[in-house]
């Protein structure tokens, strides 16, 4: 009710200790279409649902390669995502030029978080309106991070952000104990099953509106092509996570 008194800029706290501008920015992330990520001990998979603004338009891409060993999936303002994507790519390139090795994933996420936090503590700036799922592989292992407009970042075994992501997270809560030992194929099928929980009744998954990116210790970041997507979506029918338990 009195929110509007304290929500004009980032430099005003509310009496309850909230920064409303930052919270509004996180709302922008929740409005974006769903993207999710999940990892095993060897691979990370990113799945997202692409939106089509109108029938005449193409589908908005949501996954971007940062370097051979790292990629992001975005939810929120695509223009803001583009800025962060460019920053991450530049940092990776500079690191590779200097050290001839891959930028440690956690460290780059930390840099993005620092950048994001800076925007929340200035009178003249607004927070980035995009949340990133950062998938990456480095000598420390396989990683999946989430970044927020607030400047916080978290590491996850699996996470979903964006519109109706709670449904996907509920799916994850039931099955994430299987992910560590899953094969790449099983991971992809889990990811697609989770996305399926998050789509509307009248929508259906097809190779046009779904985007799947894979990353592995011996696998540079790659998107699944249209044919591979079709095949995996077809396999969803017969996919039963319970059979994975029986295998172990």
């Amino acid at each position: 009710m009195l929110k509007h008194l304290y929500d004009t800029d980032c430099v005003t706290w509310s009496p309850q200790g909230k920064l409303f501008q930052v919270e509004y920015a996180m709302e922008a992330v929740k409005q974006g279409s769903i993207c999710l990520g999940l990892k095993s001990s060897e691979n990370v998979v990113l799945c997202s649902l692409k939106r089509q603004p109108s029938e005449l338009a193409g589908y908005q891409e949501k996954q971007f390669k940062i370097d051979d060993h790292m990629a992001i999936a975005i939810a929120g303002l695509t223009a803001d995502a583009r800025v962060l994507c460019k920053y991450m790519r530049t940092e990776c390139l500079e690191y590779k030029y200097t050290y001839e090795s891959h930028h440690p994933v956690g460290r780059l996420v930390f840099k993005v978080a620092e950048k994001s936090q800076h925007k929340t503590q200035s009178g003249a700036k607004r927070p980035y309106g995009v949340g990133l799922l950062v998938a990456g592989i480095d000598p420390n292992g396989v990683h999946l991070f989430e970044t927020c407009p607030s400047g916080n970042y978290y590491e996850y075994k699996c996470q979903a952000i964006g519109s109706r992501s709670q449904a996907a997270r509920t799916y994850f809560e039931s099955w994430f104990h299987l992910f560590e030992k899953s094969t790449l194929e099983q991971l992809i099928l889990h990811g697609l099953s989770a996305i399926k929980k998050a789509i509307m009744e009248d929508e259906e998954l097809n190779e046009k509106n779904v985007e799947v990116g894979i990353l592995g210790k011996n696998q540079k970041f790659a998107h699944l092509n249209a044919q591979e997507l079709k095949d995996y979506i077809a396999k969803l029918e017969g996919f039963n996570p319970n059979s994975q338990i029986q295998q172990e």
Binding site: T98, S101, N140
Partner: protein, 236 residues
């Protein structure tokens, strides 16, 4: 040197080194890498500082040695230490590997070369990381080479024959050390700026180990020398 106010405003470029260190020899052995360097810093042709520690441990599993201008060596040690320290700030447990240091130094040297103000050094980075041995050479121009044996300075001319005859990269630590000692023996005889006290250090999977300085064996009591000294001079 006469103080000339005109010149003090200009940036001075390193055109010739003043206090210099001698050759470095580094060999890979089965299970690690071993580096040897003498303990002398020469002031031109004067053997000025005879007990200098020239092996820098830049991280747990990486050591750095170089020949050339000693003040540049000290500066590079500070630069390399900065990298490991910044890792502490991120607090994510990720530390540079020996190869990261080697490449960083190559970039640094190349940048200085492009400004015609080089780091007047031939550098050796030696380390052991993830079960792999690492030996890198970075020269004054920023040329970067990885190899399983590396020599700088006069050792590149006098010692390669000894190394290829008596060393292979599967030898033991003691065998590799013996080859290095033999090389420094020869260098002391042939290189005017060499010294007979050397220091060895090796890196294996436990990390870097620096040893105490030791004197190389030298032999001067050849009968030829003795007889020659006692010969009467022929006068005509």
């Amino acid at each position: 040197m006469i103080f000339n106010p005109e010149f003090s405003a200009q940036q001075q470029h390193t055109t010739s080194p003043i206090v210099t260190g001698g050759s470095v020899i580094a060999l890979a052995y089965k299970g690690g890498v071993v580096v040897g360097v003498d303990t002398l810093c020469s002031y031109g042709s004067m053997a000025d500082f005879k007990n200098v520690e020239k092996i820098a441990q830049v991280s747990k599993n990486t050591i750095y040695v170089s020949s050339g201008e000693f003040s540049d060596f000290q500066q590079v040690v500070r630069e390399l230490a900065k990298i490991d320290r910044s890792a502490l700030q991120y607090d994510d447990g990720v530390h540079p590997s020996p190869r990261d240091y080697g490449n960083y130094l190559a970039r640094l040297s190349y940048k200085r070369r492009c400004k015609i103000n080089p780091l007047y050094l031939q550098n050796v980075i030696a380390g052991f990381h993830n079960g792999e041995r690492y030996l890198g050479l970075v020269d004054i121009y920023g040329t970067y080479l990885e190899s399983n044996f590396v020599t700088t300075g006069f050792a590149s001319y006098f010692c390669k024959a000894i190394i290829s005859n008596y060393w292979n990269d599967n030898c033991t630590l003691d065998q590799a050390k013996q080859v290095i000692r033999e090389c420094f023996k020869v260098l002391f005889c042939r290189d005017c700026r060499a010294h007979d006290v050397i220091q060895l250090a090796y890196v294996d999977e436990q990390g870097a180990h620096l040893e105490q300085p030791e004197r190389v064996e030298t032999k001067w009591d050849f009968s030829g020398f003795k007889n020659r000294a006692n010969e009467k001079l022929h006068t005509q």
